[in-house]
């Protein structure tokens, strides 16, 4: 094996790692720093990598930057929770508010490919009405996007990732067949199914971005269960092994271990490139357009860090909304013990899902929706869950004896946008000398009512599924969105429907930050769909000379 991916960049000298072959390399085009490329993209996660791929496939000159390392999954992803923390963003952030969030593992990534390298592969579409939740459902804010257009893009992304899913999806308008057949359910998923059927609600095998049949060099999923620690077989279809190889083939350059610290703006108020730290020094890449795709904390942080005398409150911030309306998803759970052996560590962690409470508006004392899924926590995650209900010492070791008999149902719940939930800059600095982010989060009453509803219902569903000794995990969150919302009005949004900044016309934001509302499903499919659409829009604008 060559030098450690975290010690020296791998995207260099005209080549990049071929992550599908042990020790493999593939050619990579390189651009000069003084050549103004068409797009400098900051971040290579679900938004940045998808956009880099599509823009380069359309012939634009693209350089994408990632602060993290370029890993080779086949050789460098251990079957080990602790070691694989190397995929997480572990630079310090400060968390406060009434309900401070936990960061670092399930909601962050610092690697080429971003957090999709360790995502749980759950690939769900938004409910159509959520794009107009204010007009149709009476809460939140409307998106400037039309659901029919989004459903068109969803089907493109599902095909690009060869999503394995059910023949018929129980909710929402008719959709096409998923490209690959659904995975076999494990025992934990069967408990979800049993509970749902007993309570008379729908459920389905989860559409997942891990292949159920061979695809190219990737074998079908081997059900090793370490999905959220990174897939070592490439069965998982992600930014790292789908969008980025495509981007490279189309002529994009990806710079790993390259932390962008500032977007540089000229006197005319236009971006001229980015300053980034790589190989021990600050460097500058010229660009005609800059895209920020650093996810809901790093994106506003970079915009705030790039303040100038002309833009004293940060770039793209005339609305004052950069960093505001930070939204997590509530991720509470009910857990219980089955008489049977479950061994939920086998297979993808969330093989079954119900979106019943996303698509049903009756019987709710709250706005918004939630889904819930079966779970497969590995030992460290599980022990820390037990810690959070106060167990340690003999009590912990005794209850850990039930590990193979536990099943859980965990919600992905829509929290409402609130301006008081925000990303700001702290006084403390990181290793690059840049102020770290302060993440302020509090639930609102509506969030709390939804969580209560979900916990009550999931408890009932567990009991109906045959589970005993049920208890509640009350304080977990997942996914980060908002902080640079899209909209139709420059006064109430940061970017327009094309992810283009209202204030700086050659500055774009393309990641979960642009979500005006967050919905009750995992966001990655929607982020990719928006990025794919954005590339189409950029092409259309360019052809009209409006770029």
């Amino acid at each position: 094996m060559s030098v450690d991916a975290q010690d020296a960049p791998r995207g260099k000298q005209g080549r990049a790692p071929d992550v599908l072959r042990v020790g493999g390399w593939m050619p990579m085009r390189e651009y000069r720093q003084d050549e103004a490329v068409d797009f400098a993209i900051v971040g290579t996660g679900a938004g940045g990598a998808t956009l880099a791929c599509r823009l380069s496939e359309k012939g634009f000159k693209v350089v994408a930057f990632d602060a993290g390392a370029w890993w080779r999954p086949l050789e460098e992803f251990a079957s080990d929770e602790a070691h694989q923390k190397k995929l997480f963003w572990t630079d310090e952030r400060l968390c406060d508010g009434e309900d401070p969030v936990k960061l670092g593992n399930n909601n962050s990534g610092k690697a080429v490919g971003g957090s999709m390298v360790h995502f749980a592969m759950v690939s769900l579409r938004f409910r159509p009405e959520w794009f107009k939740s204010r007009s149709l459902l009476g809460y939140g804010v409307d998106w400037p996007l039309d659901w029919r257009e989004m459903w068109h893009y969803y089907s493109i992304i599902e095909d690009a990732l060869k999503i394995s899913g059910p023949v018929n999806y129980p909710w929402g308008p008719k959709r096409g067949r998923y490209p690959y057949r659904a995975h076999e359910l494990n025992a934990a998923a069967l408990v979800l199914a049993r509970g749902a059927e007993a309570l008379g609600i729908g459920w389905t095998p989860t559409p997942l971005a891990t292949v159920s049949a061979p695809r190219g060099l990737a074998h079908p999923c081997a059900y090793r269960g370490f999905c959220v620690s990174g897939c070592s077989t490439n069965a998982k279809q992600s930014t790292l092994n789908v969008w980025i190889p495509r981007a490279l083939k189309a002529g994009a350059e990806i710079r790993d271990l390259a932390m962008v610290g500032r977007i540089v703006v000229n006197d005319a108020g236009l971006c001229i490139g980015v300053e980034y730290f790589r190989e021990g020094r600050w460097q500058f890449q010229r660009a005609k357009n800059v895209v920020v795709a650093g996810y809901a904390i790093e994106t506003p942080r970079l915009l705030l860090l790039s303040a100038t005398s002309r833009f004293p409150d940060g770039l793209a911030n005339s609305s004052g909304l950069v960093g505001k309306n930070f939204m997590v998803q509530s991720n509470q759970a009910a857990w219980g013990v089955m008489d049977q052996e479950i061994r939920s560590y086998k297979g993808p962690p969330s093989l079954a899902v119900t979106e019943h409470w996303n698509y049903t508006d009756k019987g709710k004392d709250f706005f918004g929706g939630y889904s819930y899924m079966s779970q497969g926590p590995l030992p460290v995650v599980w022990a820390l869950t037990e810690n959070r209900r106060g167990l340690w010492g003999d009590a912990l070791l005794q209850d850990m004896q039930h590990y193979n008999h536990y099943v859980g149902l965990k919600m992905v719940g829509e929290t409402l946008p609130q301006e008081r939930n925000c990303i700001t800059l702290a006084d403390e600095k990181d290793d690059y000398g840049l102020p770290i982010a302060r993440v302020t989060h509090s639930y609102c009453d509506n969030d709390r009512r939804m969580i209560r509803h979900a916990l009550d219902f999931m408890e009932k569903a567990l009991a109906a599924g045959g589970t005993k000794d049920i208890w509640r995990e009350t304080d977990d969150t997942c996914h980060l969105n908002g902080t640079a919302r899209m909209g139709s009005d420059p006064h109430t949004s940061v970017v327009n429907a094309d992810c283009r900044s209202w204030d700086v016309p050659n500055l774009w934001i393309c990641d979960g930050s642009v979500f005006p509302t967050v919905g009750g499903v995992n966001p990655s499919l929607t982020i990719q769909a928006i990025a794919y659409r954005t590339a189409d829009r950029i092409e259309a604008l360019a052809s009209r000379g409006e770029l």
Binding site: E92, L94, D394
Partner: protein
């Protein structure tokens, strides 16, 4: 003394080390972890003694087998200053929190028993920790750090996170352990692959012991 009766007698996840369930990179990282020295490389000797005693309370490992080097694993992490990617604004950074917390634990113990935390009875240690867990400890020696938050956000996750990343813990709970490239085949209720731990049903402990010794 053993705090529980194992459901998986004789199961040793390390017996799979040379099977298709362990690839080269996994063998390497687990070997390194198991070789963590049981001596301090970051903490001073006084705090190290407190940490060892604290680990023995949080995870009382069975005495009839080798011990996972929990204090060494926590100390190694402090040496690397390997943070989580966030901290509650009311807590100081990783190293500072542990330096303050371990010193304060000794001070609490001395105030009550005139002995350091490592030197008092196990039951007294647990009582003190229970008071920390329930927010009943405070004072100048905590240097403004919230003792309860230190317990819930640092002590428990750091020590338990270390323990459940160690193969000895996987043996106890019947976790399959590393699984690449072989993975698993049998997904249904009450089904196990031949390379998974056998659970002892009441009265069948000897049979489980025998079968677990064959797990590869």
């Amino acid at each position: 003394m053993n705090p529980y009766t194992s459901r998986y007698p004789g199961y040793d996840v390390l017996s799979k080390r040379d099977t298709p369930s362990w690839d080269a990179v996994t063998r390497k990282v687990i070997e390194q972890r198991m070789a963590t020295p049981s001596e301090p490389s970051f903490l001073d000797v006084v705090r190290w003694r407190a940490l060892e005693a604290l680990c023995a309370c949080i995870v009382p490992q069975p005495s009839d087998r080798p011990q996972a080097p929990l204090a060494g694993m926590v100390d190694m992490r402090l040496k690397k200053n390997a943070g989580d990617g966030f901290r509650y604004a009311r807590l100081p950074p990783l190293r500072e929190a542990w330096l303050i917390g371990l010193h304060a634990l000794d001070e609490e113990s001395k105030a009550l028993h005139e002995l350091s935390f490592a030197s008092i009875e196990h039951a007294a240690q647990n009582t003190l920790l229970s008071r920390m867990q329930h927010g009943e400890l405070s004072g100048a020696h905590w240097q403004g750090m919230d003792a309860q938050l230190f317990f819930t956000q640092r002590v428990l996750p750091d020590i338990c996170g270390a323990y459940y990343s160690h193969p000895y813990a996987w043996n106890e709970i019947g976790f399959g352990g590393p699984a690449s490239p072989r993975g698993y085949v049998r997904m249904y209720y009450d089904r196990r692959d031949p390379w998974e731990a056998v659970e002892a049903k009441p009265g069948k402990e000897q049979q489980a012991l025998k079968e677990n010794r064959r797990v590869r």
